[in-house]
């Protein structure tokens, strides 16, 4: 029987900062608290009284890593309230913009934050000393994602070209065509990345998760689809709040999302992949098969492989869109504000991002609700940690701490969407 205390003051390589507390008593995990100090409510309040046209630029500021996701959920929700549907090339451009963001976000996580875990390095700087060319490849791939976001969004970070109804300016065929060579290189590099990550050593860790993601009739999901799960959920996005709710957690100002009557659920790349493998492009499906990676995966440590496959898909999809692009007549469809409520879910790199807006007949926002993917994954992260620590309880303290950090990094939690600080405390009493 051991009663020990481990304290770590800083959880490295997780976007943003929050807090984790694990208590181990008599070789059993007695408590796990994944704390978020500050809920994402500032922006909801900040949006009240603002004109609908301001919303995409404001919500883009919530997160430096996934501004496109925030913009996309915003514009889709407001368009739903106004009864507007964006189709054709403008819809394709939105998918292209999302490709850019997935590439940026996933590549950053794969190369700079997650790969060092599996190769035994403290961080990307130490990994770069032995693998400079691999790290340079990651930086080049991210640059290709930046190029898409920069061209379509108007800026690499916090895009300003997105508006309700479409874009302020649509790119010319020539401008998009100039990206093609860089993206073809990126697609080859993504294939190498899939092969690279499938060779990493992974702990044997699987749980009986309920995966939740969008599913579209024909596409791997970015902006549209029904919300489905591997345990029977199949609802329209507008029914979200009938099935999911946020429970207030005593030790955290943030709210944990749960499925009514079922509890924790899992969103993000693994959920998308498991529920939409058949919607990946043939190239991405074939890459997974060639690497010996199954069409379903329940090991969150292998999320790095799934991210690699999604990066490959994003490059492939971007090239498909560019190849078929024709300049639309107008950069945006006409908008006529009307009073109403609209909601939308889009697939941020880390999972479904839900927005709901109530607007008046002048298009002023009366209420806003935003549920980031990290809030939705918090409960499942806690459950993972409880099971993972129990099976690794005899590990030396520094190793256990490191593995806890890895278990959290599996989810690429973008805690900056919800808060700013993350500190890790593991106590063995």
């Amino acid at each position: 029987m051991t009663n020990k205390t481990i304290k770590v003051d800083y959880l490295a390589r997780v976007e943003g900062e929050g807090a984790l507390y694990i208590k181990i008593k008599d070789d059993k995990v007695s408590e796990v608290k994944f704390k978020i100090f500050e809920p994402p409510r500032f922006f909801e309040a900040f949006l009240r009284g603002r004109k609908y046209t301001e919303a995409p630029d404001i919500t883009a500021r919530i997160c430096g890593i996934c501004p496109v996701a925030y913009q996309m959920s915003t514009v889709h929700a407001i368009e739903q309230a106004f009864g507007v549907t964006v189709q054709g090339q403008l819809r394709e451009l939105r998918r292209l913009l999302y490709c850019g963001e997935w590439i940026e976000s996933h590549v950053l996580h794969i190369y700079m934050l997650h790969a060092p875990d599996f190769l035994g390095y403290q961080d990307a700087m130490h990994m770069a000393q032995d693998y400079p060319d691999v790290v340079k490849r990651g930086l080049q791939m991210k640059k290709a994602g930046n190029a898409i976001v920069s061209l379509l969004g108007g800026r690499e970070i916090h895009p300003i070209n997105v508006r309700v109804g479409g874009f302020y300016k649509s790119p010319s065929k020539k401008e998009l065509g100039q990206l093609a060579e860089q993206l073809k290189w990126g697609r080859d590099a993504a294939l190498e990345t899939v092969l690279w990550t499938t060779q990493f050593p992974f702990p044997d860790f699987e749980q009986d998760y309920e995966f939740v993601a969008l599913r579209h009739p024909t596409e791997y999901p970015f902006n549209e689809g029904r919300l489905v799960s591997n345990k029977g959920l199949d609802i329209a996005v507008q029914e979200y709040e009938n099935h999911f709710y946020e429970e207030h957690i005593e030790y955290s100002n943030a709210l944990h999302s749960v499925l009514k009557g079922r509890g924790a659920y899992f969103v993000g790349p693994l959920a998308r992949y498991n529920l939409n493998f058949d919607r990946l492009s043939p190239l991405a499906q074939e890459a997974a098969k060639s690497a010996g990676f199954a069409s379903t995966c329940k090991n969150p440590f292998q999320s790095i492989i799934v991210r690699s496959i999604e990066v490959l898909y994003a490059f492939d999809e971007a090239l498909r869109i560019i190849d078929g692009y024709e300049l639309p007549d107008k950069p945006a469809v006409e908008i006529h504000p009307r009073a109403g409520v609209g909601s939308a879910c889009t697939e941020a790199p880390r999972g479904i991002l839900y927005h709901r807006y109530q607007l008046n007949d002048e298009g002023l926002i009366q209420n806003a609700k935003i549920v980031p993917p990290t809030s939705q994954n918090q409960k499942v992260i806690e459950i993972d940690l409880r099971h993972y620590v129990e099976q690794a309880i005899q590990l030396p303290e520094d190793q256990l701490t490191w593995q806890c950090e890895q278990a959290i990094r599996n989810y690429d939690p973008c805690i900056s969407c919800a808060t700013h600080f993350l500190k890790l405390h593991i106590e063995r009493e």
Binding site: A12, E38, I62, G64, L139
Partner: protein, 161 residues
């Protein structure tokens, strides 16, 4: 040939003192500095490495939290020495300023001159307010950076054939 001077202000607009790097850059934009590119950044480390490759001299201005008095200014010649670990940059990215500089050093992608100006912040919660001492420091840093840019340009003029 004139040097490319790059000034990067880092911060999150909606995180109170975290935005101070952006405020410094906005103050510098009113100075009409020649041959100088100014960038507002959210602190994405990979983006910073890319930006470094454009410059012969770069300055990075960011907020830090190191338990000193709010408004304390630190200046680090990052091309000569590692950024001290006790300077905890308030980035919302784990792969942020400190990591980007050290990774760029490993990959030999640092600009020939890289000056880091860090301002001790006090309040990093969501909001738009600046702590008065931190705001005062921002103006001082803007003056220091402006003088440094002018000195650099003067040196180049003097050394030009």
């Amino acid at each position: 040939m004139s040097p490319s001077i790059l000034l990067i202000g880092i911060g999150n607009e909606y995180r109170c003192d975290d935005s101070i790097g952006l405020h410094v850059i906005r103050a510098l934009k009113t100075q009409n500095l020649p041959e100088t590119i100014m960038v507002e950044s959210s602190g994405d480390g990979a983006e910073l490495i890319e930006l470094f490759s454009l410059a012969k001299m770069a300055s990075v201005i960011d907020a830090v939290s190191s338990c000193r008095k709010p408004g304390t200014i630190y200046e680090v010649e990052a091309h000569k020495q590692p950024v001290p670990v006790q300077l905890s940059f308030q980035s919302t990215h784990a792969f942020g300023v400190g990591e980007a500089i050290e990774l760029a050093r490993v990959l030999e992608q640092l600009p020939p001159i890289l000056l880091v100006y860090a301002i001790e912040g006090a309040n990093f919660s969501t909001g738009l307010e600046l702590t008065p001492k931190v705001e005062e420091a921002a103006y001082k840093v803007a003056e220091q950076v402006r003088d440094k840019v002018k000195d650099t340009l003067k040196d180049v003029d003097t050394n030009s054939p």
